[in-house]
Amino acid sequence: MSLTPISAGFIPLVDAAPLIVAKELGFAEEEGLALSLVQAPSWSTLRDQLAFGHIQAAHMLSPVPVASHMGLMNGLPKLQVLSVLSMNGNVIGVSPTMAGLLEVRGYQFDFSDAKAAALAVASLPKPLRIGVPFLLSMHAELVSLWLNSVGLSAGTDFQIHAVPPPLMAQAIKNGDLDVFCVGEPWGSFTVDTADGTLILPGAAIWTAAPEKVLATRVDWSEQNEDTALRLIRALWRAGQWLDLPSKQLALAEVLARKDYVGVNSDLIDRALTGRLVVNGAGDTKHHENFLRFHNEGATFPWQSQAEWIADRLKARLGKTAQGENAEILGIFRSDLYRVALRQLGTPMPLTNSKIEGSLSAKTEVRAVSGSLSLGQNRFFDGQTFDPQR
């Protein structure tokens, strides 16, 4: 059987693992795909490569496909989401100067209490300069939500700057930033090379944040539906392998390769095990739910996730962001995902939407056949997002 060639782009991050594993462990080939991977230098370039057909699929920040339907990327073809590639996995950290100030103020550095961390950060000199990888990112949404909760406003109290992940450490070293939010391994890299201090995992703000997604052009999946379905299955299997407890050692070595993430495998291990070195002194904190690829329904593309993102983009970017609700709903292709996984007998949820932030613990729910367990889905301040309202 001849394989269908498909190329996918990614940014050097630990959460590019599903694509890398789909290729390296042969999950793509089992689905009849000859998957080639292309490392991209920046999120905007990755998006353009996808938009202009240089690649057919991409490891993408979850808000980018949503933004492409909201007038935030004029002139570029619209994108959509075939599945979620990872949940959580970001860290929030502070510069050495800010860490010093927090210590003087008696902050506990517990790496878990988002409310306490927000109050502590609110006591720092303003405006805070905050680095995130891209303006349209879960990082920007989580940081804004988190700081808004203690009364800080974007613009006057904090300013968000786009800094490419590999350059985050240098920006801290140069004194350009006070706070940063970035995906691994670049937070750990900032700890090791720029004396940054990690204060929270992204999961402490939202325990079930859809972080990276598998994105394609809308017209591509219309014209290549069979290939799209195979890609969804290949990545689903890759994710399943990734969440096996035994895989980590070999995985870190593969991801460490120069053409993938290109850092020492020790740095990659930290995100995979959820055991992070949080400061220059080498203190370690463990977070159970640091980064999830598959388990507890992590890869299902919920329409409510698209709506949450659209809602936040409107709130944050104001009048520039528009979008019809019906169109927003269709960006996360739960329909294609269901079709793709039907033949694997995977239990599927009864609906395509859920109330985000409403599960205080892992919960067993009824599925189309049998049941499935959904992971904890909780915002740090207890808010919920009901798309029906």
């Binding site: 230098p41 920046s42 999120w43 905007s44 370039t45 353009d48 938009a51 202009f52 933004a67 935030l72 990327m73 004029n74 002139g75 570029l76 990888p133 891209f134 303006l135 349209l136 700057h161 786009a162 800094v163 490419p164 590999p166 350059l167 240098q170 920006a171 140069n174 350009d176 970017l317 520039t320």
Partner: protein
């Protein structure tokens, strides 16, 4: 010749920056600023209120400029990625040449075209130079490896140089591989065993 525009070129390499500036200067008497410092890039770009921003697509700091295109401060002039202009051919040429252009709202297509044409030509040249350099480097490395492999075969089998090379070539042909790959495998194996 188009009227004066303010152009910002983001480029760390001095020689490349000079070459771009020279090419742009031939299209009119524009105000051209070169930014080589990644630190605080978005703010530096905004300060010049540019009509056009040019940046290498392989430069990771492109994302900082993209921020200006997505949401600019009310006091800053918004710039948009050139693709907004629906000049598909020019856009495609720019992307293939490896340059991304951000253009301020309302600027006419015919005013941009000469500038983009000049930038595209220059970036195409850089790309060709980069490819040439990589090809030469690879050829040199391959030759070094083949020479080492030849030496190993000569010593191990007591062959002359030509015979050793013929053996490498025959093995490569039999296995459907490149001589350099067979040579590399041999060098790696002999390092492991010595």
């Amino acid at each position: 010749m188009s009227e004066n525009l303010t152009i910002v070129v983001v480029e760390k390499d001095r020689d490349r920056a000079c070459a771009i500036v020279d090419a742009l200067a031939e299209t009119g008497s524009h105000k051209i600023h070169v930014l080589s410092e990644v630190s605080g890039l978005a703010r530096s770009v905004a300060r010049f209120s540019p009509d056009v921003v040019l940046v290498d697509v392989t430069d990771p700091s492109r994302d900082a400029i993209e921020q200006l295109a997505i949401a600019s401060d009310p006091l800053e002039r918004p710039v948009a990625l050139f693709v907004d202009r629906s000049n598909a051919q020019l856009t495609k040429a720019a992307i293939e040449a490896g340059v991304s252009a951000y253009i301020v709202d309302g600027l006419q297509n015919d005013r941009i075209k000469p500038i983009l044409d000049a930038a595209i030509a220059r970036f195409q040249m850089f790309q060709r130079m980069r490819t040439e350099l990589e090809t030469t480097k690879r050829a040199l490395e391959e030759r070094k490896i083949v020479d080492r492999a030849k030496g190993i075969v000569m010593k191990a089998r007591g062959l002359g140089e030509e015979e050793a090379y013929a053996l490498l070539r025959k093995t490569a042909m039999d296995q459907g591989k490149k001589v350099a790959d067979v040579a590399q495998a041999l060098v790696t194996a002999s390092e492991l065993l010595s």
